[in-house]
Structures are given as structure tokens and as C-alpha cells.
């Protein structure tokens, strides 16, 4: 018998689940997040092994969704010095790399930033020949001074050639150890946002490497020698080798894992997922089993990026939300006692009124250790306010007025009723409280392409086939079993004001994990 581990490190708790071969939950646990992250993981994994009596050696796969990369950026911790190279001169000099970054990060990164000759036009022509001599001299000048390299070429989503060649020169000069991030692997059209993502990716590569190694060590200490995967923010997994190349893709994977877990636990592919935590509630939409993506530019630690984030609407309402009454009326959240609810909440013997206490006082849920007495009128009003907020968040995410199925997950979801405005039916799956860790554990491996293709030379079918084959190759590199790969989504977006029927094509494919994926070593920089 083999098992798999799903681990989700959130803001408050580290959730761990142990699944058997049929993906049944054998054991689960929630432990407080520790400042070093890994101690909490070790505690959680140790606990599920003990509960289940499973031997660590029987665990074949371990999947981790973690906030470490996000935290490193927000807290400016352990970031690499990065050589930032843009291929685009004489174009693009009007807006230099790091434009719009927070001052502290800009001051730190400005020293090693260049715009050199190269890059492409929208139709794949060269803006200028790649200035290989300049790139070589930059590479030599930064040797020993930077720990990573970020290369961004103009219109690399149309033509990857210059980025690949520039990456090759850096690799030659700097050796195999220095991580080199190429922008076309990290985003689509929108140079600044893609460049920002590439620089952040390079900046966190060492943090990601250390986090991954300590995770591996923690598992090894418990006798677990499983194949290791990291969850990314689109709801799929990547192998460790791939995650070390693109660590930035792990940011904000938590909400996605919850939604994927919700889909798996209910078998629903199209639904609204409401994830209620201690401080906030995230509402997202499942489309064909995956989270609907946001189109809005996403700020990470003050830096504008175009990451593929799930489209979420978050409200400041959770189990620990404070309920107060003043002249302005009753307020529920956004202030929250968070994980301290188990000391401060009335239902736990404290003297702070939380949303949990309101629900308990009204007799709509039994939570905690102490009975809660509150004036019924006050409690009912507070409850109504909370329900109105929830209903509005749900309605905001819906695409039509028709009622849709709703899935409630997260530890705080016991506080919500089984009938909600706008919902055709409300599902409360078993193990709803660890849906995020389950989402990580059951995830597939994906491959994506998001590039601009010209359709005047080739037929639409040929172009789509080309895009699909690139995405499939990506999925295999990320660790998917080739025979299981299926197309998840194809999107064609025509581009305005350009001739030649330029079309942006996004293809996502996904497949199950290859049982053995360490056979092919992925190059230390992105080439294919």
C-alpha cells in the first residue's frame, strides 16, 4: 500500500492530510504555523503518521503548498542579488527596469540592471540583432556578485530565440549553479509585468531552494522519502526541479488548493466555492474543475505583475471576526482575533465577541467549550449583516442570475447556514476543514502556453496544434505522465490594430503525476 501527503501552509495553520491510493483521507491534522515553517510541517506530518500508523517509507508522494516565497518577498527576506537584463534596445529605454517598484527594492536592484540590444517585434522580426558581446561582458562583470539572473526580451512570447541565446551566454560564463530566469516562461505580453515577475522569480530562487531542501530534510527525518511536488497558483503541481526554476509560481497557491479540494470532495466541476477562515472569507469560481483566473494586474509586495491568480473576492469575515456595537451601528469584522479565538472568543471562555460567538448564541452551530449568552436582537442583527456580506460576495462572483451550486470549505464554514441566497444547493463535503491540503494532494501536473501567434502563414488548426504541443511538452517537463495529459482550456484572444491576424493563444493541459519522474534531469535554466 502506498500513500500520499498533502500539506498546506497557510497564514494561521499548517494543514496536513494523509491519503491512501484511492485518495481517501486516512488522517488529518491542523497545527499552528511556526516562524520557520518547517517545524510546523514536521509536527503535522509526524502527527498524521502516528494517527494512522503508516510507515513513512510507504509514502510515495508529498505535495506542499507553502507561503514561504510570498513571505520572502513581502518581508524582503533572503532575497538574491539579481542581474536584470532586458533585451530591447533601442526600444523600451523610456521606461527602465524596476519602474514603479517600491523605493527600497528599487534601490537594492538598480545597480545590476541593463537594457541591451535585441528583442523582437510583434511579428517576430528582430528589433535589433542580439548584442552578444555586451551580454558576455555583463555576465563577466556580475560574476561572483549576483546569485541569480533575470532575462526579459521584448515580445519573447512571440519569439523566444533571443532570451534563449542570452541565457546560454550567462550559463557559459557563470556556470551551472546560478539560476537563470527567462521571462517567456513566466508570463505573457506586457513587458514590465513580465519582467517584474522574472526578477522576483530570480530573487526568490535561493529562498525556494532552501525551503525545499529543509522540507525534504524534515520528511527524511520522519523516514519519508517520497517524490516531492510543490503546488502552484493555478491549482496544479510542479516537480521539485521545475519549482526550483519557477519558484514564483508557488505564490498564493493556498486559495487555489482550497478550491481544487472543494471540487474533488464534491465531484462538482462548476460551482462557487466559499472558503471561510479565521479572518477572511474567499469566494472563488470553479470552471471545469479549475479556479477562474483573474485578469487584473496583481501586486506582490508592492510590485506589479501579471501572474495567473485565481479570481477571488475576499471579505473581512471569518470565525474570529470581532463584532462591535457603537453609535455607527453594529460592525462584523474586518478586525479579527485570528487564531487567538481559542483564548479570546466567548465560546472558548474569553470576553471578546466574535462572529463565532454570534452563531453559537443563536444556536445555529455548536463550537467551543463555553455557552454564549448575547442579547438575541443584537446577535440576530450581527448575523444578518454577516449573511448580507456573504451573499453579496457570492453574487459578485456569479456570472448569471441563475442560482448555482455552492461548496463550503474551511474551518469557519460551519458558521454558515445550509441555505444561502443565490445558491441552488449548498454542499458541505466531509473533511471540508482540510480541503486545501487535500487540494494539494490530489492535484494534477499542468503545462501552459500563452503566446502570440500569427495566423497569416498557417491555418488556425496548425497554430492551435503547435500551441497544444508546446503546452504538452511543458506538462511532461513539470512531471506529468504523457499518456494521461488532457486539454483543460483553450482560449484565443484577437489582438487589435495589428495586421496578419495576430492572436494570443492560451492553452492549459493537465495530466496525472508520472510515477517516476527523476529520470530526466531538467536543465538548470529554461530551455527546451
Amino acid at each position: 500500500m502506498t500513500y500520499r501527503l498533502g500539506i498546506d501552509v497557510g497564514g494561521t495553520n499548517t494543514d496536513v492530510v494523509l491519503l491512501d491510493k484511492e485518495n481517501r483521507v486516512i488522517a488529518k491534522t491542523k497545527t499552528a504555523v511556526t516562524s520557520d515553517i518547517v517545524t510546523g510541517i514536521r509536527t503535522g506530518v509526524g502527527s498524521v503518521l502516528e494517527q494512522s500508523g503508516v510507515d513513512g517509507a510507504q509514502i510515495s508522494h508529498a505535495m506542499l503548498g507553502t507561503t514561504q516565497v510570498t513571505n520572502a518577498i513581502i518581508e524582503r527576506r533572503e532575497l538574491n542579488d539579481v542581474a536584470i537584463v532586458r533585451l530591447g534596445a533601442p526600444a523600451t529605454r523610456a521606461v527602465k527596469p524596476l519602474a514603479g517598484w517600491p523605493d527600497d527594492l528599487r534601490a537594492r536592484y538598480a545597480e545590476y540592471s541593463w537594457i541591451v540590444g535585441g528583442g523582437h517585434e510583434f511579428d517576430g522580426r528582430e528589433i535589433a540583432p542580439l548584442d552578444e558581446a555586451e551580454i558576455r561582458s555583463i555576465a563577466e562583470s556580475v560574476k561572483g556578485k549576483v546569485q541569480a539572473v533575470a532575462i526579459t526580451g521584448v515580445f519573447s512570447p512571440v519569439n523566444t530565440d533571443h532570451e534563449e541565446r542570452a541565457g546560454g551566454i550567462f550559463r557559459e560564463v557563470l556556470g551551472e549553479e546560478i539560476p537563470i530566469s527567462l521571462s517567456y516562461q513566466l508570463g505573457s505580453v506586457g513587458l514590465l509585468e513580465r519582467e517584474n515577475a522574472t526578477v522576483l522569480n530570480a530573487a526568490v530562487s535561493s529562498v525556494a531552494k532552501r525551503a525545499t531542501m529543509s522540507f525534504q530534510q524534515a520528511l527524511a527525518d520522519l523516514g519519508v522519502h517520497a517524490a516531492l511536488y510543490l503546488a502552484q497558483n493555478d491549482g496544479t503541481l510542479m516537480s521539485v526541479e521545475y519549482a526550483l526554476l519557477y519558484p514564483i509560481l508557488t505564490i498564493a497557491c493556498g486559495p487555489t488548493n482550497s478550491m481544487r479540494g472543494a471540487a474533488y470532495l464534491t465531484g462538482l466541476k462548476n460551482a462557487i466555492v466559499v472558503d471561510v477562515g479565521g479572518t477572511s472569507t474567499d469566494v472563488g469560481v470553479l470552471v471545469n474543475g479549475f479556479p477562474r483566473e483573474s485578469f487584473v494586474a496583481v501586486d506582490v509586495g508592492g510590485v506589479r505583475t501579471n501572474f495567473r491568480m485565481p479570481d477571488l473576492y475576499s471579505i473581512g469575515l471569518g470565525g474570529g471576526s470581532r463584532v462591535t456595537e457603537s453609535e455607527a451601528g453594529i460592525e462584523v469584522g474586518p478586525k479579527s482575533v485570528g487564531y487567538r479565538i481559542v483564548e479570546e472568543g466567548r465560546a472558548f471562555g474569553g470576553d471578546t465577541t466574535t462572529f463565532t460567538d454570534i452563531v453559537v448564541a443563536l444556536g445555529k452551530a455548536s463550537v467551543g467549550t463555553h455557552p454564549v449568552q448575547l442579547p438575541t436582537d443584537f446577535a440576530q442583527k450581527a448575523y444578518d449583516i454577516a449573511m448580507a456580506k456573504t451573499a453579496e460576495a457570492i453574487d459578485r462572483m456569479k456570472t448569471s442570475a441563475e442560482p448555482v451550486p455552492l461548496i463550503l470549505v474551511g474551518g469557519g464554514s460551519v458558521l454558515l447556514p445550509s441555505e444561502l441566497e443565490g445558491a441552488s444547493e449548498v454542499h458541505r463535503p466531509e473533511n471540508f476543514d482540510v480541503a486545501n491540503a487535500i487540494g494539494a494532494a490530489i492535484a494534477q501536473v499542468s503545462g501552459r502556453v500563452d503566446r502570440i501567434f500569427a495566423m497569416d502563414q498557417k491555418s488556425r488548426e496548425e497554430v492551435l496544434e503547435e500551441a497544444k504541443s508546446i503546452a504538452i511538452a511543458e506538462a511532461i517537463r513539470a512531471g506529468a505522465e504523457a499518456s494521461t495529459i488532457e486539454i483543460v482550456e483553450i482560449e484565443e484572444i484577437p489582438i487589435a490594430y495589428l495586421p496578419g491576424n495576430a492572436v494570443r493563444i492560451k492553452v492549459t493541459v493537465a495530466g496525472t503525476l508520472a510515477t517516476y519522474n527523476f529520470g530526466s534531469k531538467v536543465d538548470a535554466y529554461a530551455s527546451h
Binding site: T92, V189, G190, L191, F295, S400, I495
Partner: protein, 362 residues
């Protein structure tokens, strides 16, 4: 009134220009970064009204042309706005005393600040449209008999093309093609004329209007207050409040066209609204009747932030307010409506002005 424009003002300008951009006009983000970079390097820019110039002072507008997708990917080199400008001066054999925007809506509100900062000349507080339009001849300057050419088109590689054309349609066709060969975006200097000839054919005060709009929207006030302030300042009205339930997009002759369906909320509960756009918002139909029409300005705002949403950013589920604001009086003229009215964009009805001309100080 003379006024110095600093980098912070450019942020307000960019936000206000997006409101005047009526959903299109290009994302001012890149243009604002360029203008701020130029102001940081060369110092603040002086903004003047045109009557502060001498009658025979040459004024040359500065603008950018191209596909929004290209502009966000292949940003300018930075030299080309000034290159186009000085090359046109050289051809005309005269130095310009000032520059001006031809389009206060969107990206082109910001580009002349790059030229003004680097050359140390003032920018006129005015523009050629009072909003955004997709084609070069769609300016008050054109209808005032000022030729867009001689026009200089410059790219980042150092190429310049001088155009001399027989009419606006040729200007549009030749410059658009030159721009495509240059890689999909270019910088222009065009519509050069003396201040006295230009003055009656500009929409005045639009840059300070845009900055004021930006300030009103960024004020630390409730959404309802900021919306009321915006409508009062622009003489606009709210035409619909609702939730976006459908967006259909298609490309027609290189333009991004689309139809958006909104389901009413609050006072508009039970009504359905259809918004049509071609790069810019064109028409608002409420329960089948046109309630706002081009060339009046139609802008979609987010209900919570009261910030404008461009046609590219429209998506399912957004809670929005559609507002309309009166266009500059020049657009009411029959010959102008032929080029920018509903019928030009394929609709079977006439312009229904929010403020008929008789009530305006036209």
C-alpha cells in the same frame, strides 16, 4: 494661467485621462511612467493657456500611434517623441514655442509632457478632442481646417518618415502603415500651426480637467461623494448602475469591438443595459433605447473605487456605474458627426446629445 506640472500631477492626469478616454485611448500607465521619468530628469513642465502665447508662435502637437498591445510590450526608446518633433521643426524651418496634446483621453494626454520636459517648452492646457477617438482626423483641428501634415513619424531605431498627404483618410492610412512596418507603434509630430489659428480649434482646459478628475477620484471620501463630485465637475450624469453579466468581443477590421450586458441594481433593478464599444465606448442602450451616444463621453466606473474601467478590463461580475458626460461643442456640428456620430459606427440612429447645444455656451 501658468502652472508648473510635477511628477505627482502626472499620476492625477493619467487617472483623469482614463475617465476622458471613455474606455479606450490606450493605458496611460506607460505614458505616465515616461512623462514622470522625463520630469524627474529635466524638471517640472510649465502648462499655459493658449492666449498666453503670441499669435505667431508655432505650436506642434505630439502624440503616439499604434496598437495598445505593442505599447505595453515594446515601450518607446524615449528619444522618438523629441526626434519627431525637432525633425518637423527642421522641415518647417521654425522652432515651436509650445506643444499640445491632440487627445486628452488615455495615453496621448501624457506624451507631450515628455517633449515639453526635454525641450524646456510649455505645454498648452488643451487638446484636439476633449476625449479619445481611434483615428487621426477625428480632431477639432482637422475640422478647423488645420492639416495633420506635414507630419513626422518616428520609431525607436532612429527612422523618421515625413508625410504630406491630400486628405485625412490618406494621413490615417499612410501613417498607420508606416507604424506597422516600424513594429506597431510610433511617435508623431503633426497638426503644427500658429497659436492664433490653433486657438479656436482646440478644446481648452482639458489637461487641467483631467488632473482635477484624478484628484477628485483619489480624494479620501466615500464612493458616493467622489461620484457626485465627478458628475458635478464634468456636468455628467449616471445612466445605469448594474452588474456585468456578459461580455462579447470580436475584432472587426483591426478594431476591438464588443457588447457588454448589464443587469440593473438599486434604482435600475429590473432593467437591462447594453453597452457597445469599438476601442472606446460608443452607445448605451437601456431596455432597447439609446440613452447615451458617441461623441458624448461614456465611461464605466467601478462601484466601489469609482475608478474607470477600460473596455479591455471589462469582465463578468463587475459592479459598475455607467456615466455619460457632454462632449465638446465642436462635435455637435453635422460635418463632425459624419465622422464620429453613431451612424459612422454603423448604428441606425442619430446622436442624442446629453446637453443640446442651445443650453451650452457654444
Amino acid at each position: 494661467m501658468r502652472r508648473l506640472i510635477h511628477a505627482k500631477d502626472i499620476d492625477y492626469l493619467a487617472l483623469g485621462a482614463t475617465v476622458l478616454g471613455t474606455g479606450g485611448g490606450g493605458d496611460p500607465y506607460i505614458g505616465a511612467l515616461m512623462a514622470k521619468q522625463a520630469i524627474e530628469k529635466y524638471g517640472p513642465v510649465e502648462m499655459v493657456s493658449i492666449d498666453e502665447l503670441n499669435d505667431d508662435d508655432l505650436v506642434i502637437p505630439s502624440a503616439m500611434m499604434g496598437a495598445p498591445t505593442v505599447m505595453v510590450e515594446k515601450m518607446p526608446g524615449g528619444d522618438e517623441p523629441v526626434k519627431a518633433f525637432t525633425q518637423l521643426e527642421k522641415f518647417l524651418g521654425r522652432k515651436a514655442a509650445a506643444t499640445v496634446s491632440i487627445e486628452a483621453g488615455g495615453l496621448n494626454s501624457t506624451i507631450p509632457f515628455v517633449v515639453a520636459a526635454e525641450l524646456g517648452i510649455p505645454i498648452v492646457d488643451a487638446d484636439g478632442m476633449g476625449r479619445a477617438f481611434p483615428e487621426i482626423p477625428m480632431t477639432a483641428l482637422h475640422f478647423g481646417g488645420i492639416s495633420a501634415t506635414p507630419m513626422m513619424v518616428a520609431d525607436e531605431k532612429g527612422n523618421t518618415v515625413l508625410l504630406s498627404t491630400v486628405n485625412g483618410a490618406w494621413t490615417e492610412a499612410l501613417s498607420r502603415n508606416a507604424t506597422i512596418v516600424m513594429g506597431g507603434s510610433s511617435m508623431l509630430a503633426l497638426y503644427g500651426a500658429n497659436a492664433d489659428k490653433m486657438a479656436p480649434n482646440l478644446v481648452h482646459g482639458t489637461l487641467s480637467t483631467a488632473m482635477k478628475i484624478g484628484q477628485l477620484l483619489e480624494a479620501k471620501e466615500d464612493a458616493a461623494v467622489r461620484l457626485a463630485n465627478l458628475l458635478q465637475f464634468t456636468d455628467g450624469v449616471e445612466v445605469f448602475r448594474g452588474k456585468l453579466t456578459d461580455v462579447m468581443r470580436r475584432t472587426v477590421d483591426g478594431f476591438a469591438r464588443g457588447t457588454v450586458t448589464l443587469e440593473g441594481m438599486g434604482v435600475d433593478s429590473g432593467s437591462v443595459c447594453r453597452l457597445e464599444f469599438q476601442n472606446e465606448n460608443l452607445i448605451v442602450m437601456r431596455d432597447g433605447d439609446p440613452v447615451a451616444t458617441v461623441p458624448d463621453l461614456i465611461t464605466v466606473l467601478d462601484q466601489e473605487t469609482i475608478h474607470p474601467i477600460t473596455t479591455e478590463e471589462l469582465r463578468y461580475g463587475q459592479r459598475v456605474i455607467v456615466i455619460t458626460m457632454p462632449c465638446a461643442p465642436v462635435w455637435h456640428r453635422p460635418e463632425c458627426l459624419e465622422l464620429v456620430g453613431p451612424r459612422y459606427f454603423g448604428y441606425d440612429f442619430d446622436f442624442k446629445p446629453l446637453r443640446p447645444l442651445t443650453t451650452q455656451n457654444a
